[in-house]
């Protein structure tokens, strides 16, 4: 078959996609081809421009602007210093870091352990997988209000269950010491399905010979997990770890719905809730943007460091 000279076919074009064809008159065709290709792109590109890229740029400018009586003025660093001097700022960060820490202990470890366990079962895996994923499909309002009822100190289910084991009633969402962990438990239940299924798929890709070899060397259950399971899934584990941190640092819906945002004495007020409050309760868009910028810089910095640290180990 004589290959058509248009560069869009033939595998060679995959290597040099923008290489201009040498045939005379083909410039016009290349232009035409590009026009049609960009025509297919234009809708999505417009949407990204208006609702993603432009807001990104705008976020940056907002952080250094003040808005008063419909007039926008340059504010320099004053938004940032305002945010840093707000006592709520530090409390929100402490709460967010606490949430992230607890969510890592629960939300990162539990799905992995569940996946390792389910992977051993020769029966009922489909059913169990379905169960774990069910809450992910619930609208958040439904799962959150369910947990609100379970946490109720009066007629709530959780205190009844604790009662069976002789543990005294807890205040759950109403006490500063338990509010955050209660939110984390609910959030883990709601969201663990996705991570569990991803880990299961990764576990199923581990070659069985590795376990056999480990057994020949006399490894027990824990050493097999430590020396085979974890190293073999490290890539996906480290990726999920990063995504989990980025996601949990942005937590909003769960505390907002469970504890009306701030919780008892502000004990569940997160950074994103503070952004929300600045913008939509105090009409302080500059402060909200400045706070957002702090979060953005912190997460971007964290991702960069994390990616750099985890790279050399992959050789």
């Amino acid at each position: 078959m004589s290959a058509p000279t248009l560069s869009k076919s033939s595998p060679a074009s995959a290597r040099a996609p923008h290489h201009l064809p040498e045939r005379r008159g083909s410039l016009a065709r290349a232009v035409k081809r590009n026009l049609s290709a960009h025509g297919f792109l234009i809708g999505a590109v417009l949407c990204f421009s208006f609702f993603s890229w432009y807001p990104m740029v705008r976020e940056f400018f907002l952080a250094f602007q003040k808005n008063k009586d419909g007039r926008t003025t340059w504010a320099g660093w004053s938004n940032l210093s305002y945010v840093f001097n707000d006592p709520a700022f530090w409390q929100a960060w402490r709460n967010t870091l606490l949430f992230t820490g607890l969510a890592l202990v629960l939300g990162f470890a539990v799905p992995f352990l569940v996946a390792v366990l389910l992977n051993e079962f020769r029966h009922g895996q489909g059913y169990l997988r379905m169960l774990v994923y069910l809450p992910v499909m619930l609208p958040p309002v439904a799962s959150v209000l369910l947990f609100k009822y379970f946490y109720d100190p009066g007629y709530g289910l959780f205190n009844r269950i604790l009662g069976i084991f002789g543990i005294p009633d807890q205040q759950w969402l109403q006490s500063t010491s338990t509010a955050m962990i209660s939110v984390v438990i609910a959030a883990t239940w709601m969201n663990m399905g996705g991570a569990t299924l991803i880990y299961l798929a990764a576990l199923q890709g581990i070659p069985g010979e590795l376990y056999e070899a480990a057994e020949l060397d006399g490894a027990g259950l824990w050493r097999k997990i430590w020396h085979v399971t974890i190293p073999q899934t490290r890539l996906i584990l480290s990726l999920m770890f990063l995504m989990q941190i980025i996601a949990t640092m942005q937590v909003f819906t769960e505390p907002f719905l469970l504890t009306n945002g701030a919780g008892p004495e502000g004990s569940t007020m997160t950074v994103v809730y503070l952004i929300y409050q600045y913008a939509f309760n105090f009409n302080n868009y500059g402060g909200a943007a400045a706070l957002g910028l702090v979060l953005l810089v912190l997460l971007a910095g964290f991702s960069a460091v994390y990616v750099r640290l985890s790279r050399p180990q992959e050789d």
Partner: protein, 291 residues
């Protein structure tokens, strides 16, 4: 035969192994059913109880008297038909926009390879790195007064539909699938004189049914589950989604009605999940294993 896992078949074959396996298996089956299905049972049955029975301590496992009328009352009082209709309208509109615009974009980036295509793809993927919540404020200000068009999109369905197109993850999934379609197929179509659009319609789309299914489900579920954005951009109670509407009505209705409303709001996505379980799970791992 299933691949070997952590525990060796020999160990499982022994008497003790068998006993341990079945005990652990039974425990996990019971525990998981209680933990994950239990709350849903509690929700459905709670909607059938009277208000007095609902707040009784200790709670009853089976409603002493069944009141299916709660569901009817909740439906009527909270105007769930309206909320449900709104949510369906937003979800399927968003699906239509994503299917047309994101598929076209992914097709172009994967197969037509326009100039600067990689730059555009890179800029789209970069949006995945930006914490989404950081953008809520500037996005909100943008839809208040969309530049160039100078339109206020608040309370209009566009405010859900158009931003839903900026789903870089879906574009990435689609592009990866299109990349795996052999170029020879497209060449054959173009030799036969098919235009790019025709090739997309008659060659690419029919092969891509599995990934289109996955992307569609994620699109619908995404809108169904979203809370913050619709709460901000659809303040008109007549335009709200189920999530936001139920949340704002929650404190004003009796508990048993509220629980009935939650059951009704949960049903569509649960049914969707039971019907398309396999597609959802394959889509999830397809995205997760990108490495």
């Amino acid at each position: 035969m299933r691949p070997r896992t952590l525990i060796s078949p020999a160990q499982l074959g022994r008497r003790r192994g068998k006993v341990v396996y079945w005990v652990v298996f039974a425990l996990v089956m019971v525990l998981f059913t209680l933990v994950f299905l239990g709350p849903m049972y509690w929700m459905v049955s709670g909607g059938l109880k009277t208000t007095q029975e609902f707040v009784k301590s200790p709670p009853t496992l089976v409603p002493t008297s069944v009141h299916p009328g709660n569901y009817r009352d909740a439906w009527r009082v909270m105007d769930l038909a309206k909320l449900l209709g709104n949510t369906l309208y937003y979800a399927f509109g968003a699906l239509a926009f994503q299917l047309v615009l994101d598929v076209a974009a992914a097709y172009s980036l994967s197969k037509l390879r326009p100039l600067f295509g990689n730059v555009i793809l890179g800029m789209m993927l970069a949006t995945l790195m930006i914490p989404a919540t950081v953008l809520v404020v500037p996005q909100y200000l943008t839809v208040l007064d969309v530049p160039i068009f100078e339109r206020n999109l608040l309370n209009s369905p566009w405010v859900i539909w158009l931003p839903s197109v900026t789903n870089a993850f879906n574009i990435f999934l689609l592009k990866r699938f299109f990349d795996s379609i052999p170029q020879e197929l497209l060449d054959a179509a173009s030799i036969d004189g098919a235009s790019a659009l025709r090739t997309l319609r008659s060659v690419v789309l029919p092969i891509s049914r599995p990934i289109l299914g996955v992307v569609s489900i994620f699109a619908v579920v995404g809108v169904w589950k979203d809370f913050l954005w619709p709460m901000l951009t659809l303040p008109d109670p007549g335009k709200q989604t189920l999530n936001v509407g139920i949340y704002s009505l929650a404190s004003g209705v009796p508990e048993n009605w509220l629980i009935a409303a939650l059951t009704i709001a949960s049903l569509p996505t649960l049914i969707l999940f039971l019907l398309f379980q396999r597609n959802i799970m394959s889509g999830l791992t397809a995205g997760g294993l990108k490495g």
